[in-house]
């Protein structure tokens, strides 16, 4: 469990959303975008206009933060193309929370 503002032993959806917001801010900053509101229903493709190569970078940021407990590549590999296009921030947050809980449960 990360010590950065999160209670040890629990997985907090709000905290994960905050982490992911900060990762997305890093990514979007490269495109000179700094004023997008990122909510649970924000889509990576339509709303943020991120390309698949940006999601590879996001996978790296998730790994830096959560280590091997979260595997974004495997998560997306289990989806079909349309699902990836429709992927929301909220769905990723839920996946991260579930993965962290599973890791906690050992």
């Amino acid at each position: 469990m990360s010590l950065n503002g999160q209670r040890i032993g629990t997985v907090d959806e709000e905290a994960v959303l905050a982490d992911i917001r900060s990762m997305l801010a890093t990514l979007l900053d490269e495109y000179g975008i700094d004023d997008v509101e990122i909510r649970m229903d924000t889509t990576f493709n339509r709303d943020l206009e991120l390309e698949s190569i940006d999601l590879v970078t996001l996978a790296g940021l998730l790994e830096e933060k959560y280590g091997s407990r979260v595997n974004f590549a495997e998560f997306l590999a289990g989806m079909d193309f349309e699902e990836i296009i429709e992927l929301t921030v909220g769905r990723l947050v839920e996946h991260v929370v579930a993965s962290l809980k599973a890791a906690e449960a050992g």
Partner: protein, 275 residues
């Protein structure tokens, strides 16, 4: 993320994933993506995780000009692409024979590498792809000519049409392709590439797998590939076109994995349904 400096001011973005939990590596696979709208992401989010889970050391990279790699204005012939691949594997100290996998143009690069270094190729998988021949160069000349005239130099109209008929996502990819075509000599370099003679093609003696979409024009290459190559098997996936890798990644990945693992039947990909 790894940025590999291959010299000459070129930095290639590479990703390498392998089996976890201390499981032994059984083979190394190098995955090469296609032109203009493609990047290593086409593997990273499809077949790569399952390959790694099957004990394979998976190396993916962005071709020059693509994805997160640097974009020099020039140097886009097939031989330049093969030189880049050579330099990358050198820097990554991947020395042993590798399984080369290429999608579309990436397969032409993969095959070219195998023809240049037969001793370093354990196998070649070509997805919607073919070795470099005069016919290939002619076809690419036509496609890239249309990209330049109808897209790169007529972008506003082209993007409006693509947005209306193919959707926002395809339009965004097309914009990226137009930019790459305008900013570099890619569209003139690739058709001017040195191509392989039939002898050079048939000198690739390692197992070769060709995977084609049943609705793609390239599917008709299958019999020729099997006749010209000493050890070649082809698979046609019905109901798909040129994007068969991302649309049917479970099926395509299973065939490639069976070649790499030396199995006689398609291997079921872990965590990926045949879709």
């Amino acid at each position: 993320m790894t940025i590999v400096d291959i010299g000459g001011g070129l930095r290639l973005h590479a990703q390498r994933i392998g089996p976890r939990g201390g499981r032994p590596v059984t083979a190394t696979a190098v995955l090469v993506h296609g032109l203009l709208t493609d990047s290593l992401a086409s593997y990273y989010f499809t077949v790569a995780p399952a390959f790694a889970a099957s004990g394979i050391d998976v190396v993916m990279y962005d071709l020059r000009g693509h994805g997160r790699s640097t974009r020099p204005a020039t140097g886009y012939t097939l031989d330049d692409s093969i030189d880049d691949l050579e330099a990358l594997l050198d820097r990554l100290e991947v020395t042993g024979p590798v399984h080369l996998v290429g999608n579309s143009y990436g397969g032409t690069v993969a095959f070219g590498y195998a023809a240049r270094h037969p001793e370093r190729a354990a196998g070649v998988s070509l997805i919607e792809s073919e070795p470099a021949t005069a016919a290939w160069a002619g076809k690419l000349d036509g496609i890239l000519g249309r990209v330049m005239h109808e897209l790169a130099h007529n972008e506003a109209d082209a993007i409006a049409w693509i947005t209306a008929n193919r959707g926002q996502n395809t339009a965004r990819l097309a914009k990226g392709a137009a930019r790459l075509a305008r900013e570099t000599t890619l569209a003139e370099d690739i058709p001017a590439s040195r191509v392989l003679s039939e002898d050079e093609i048939s000198s690739v003696r390692c197992p070769v797998l060709g995977v084609y979409g049943g609705d793609s024009d390239l599917a008709e290459l299958a019999p020729w590939m099997e006749s010209v190559l000493p050890d070649c098997r082809t698979v046609v996936v019905p109901g798909h076109e040129h994007s068969v890798l991302v649309e049917a990644s479970g099926t395509v990945g299973g065939h490639i994995l069976s070649l790499i693992l030396g199995a006689t039947v398609p291997v079921q990909l872990a965590g990926a349904e045949a879709r």
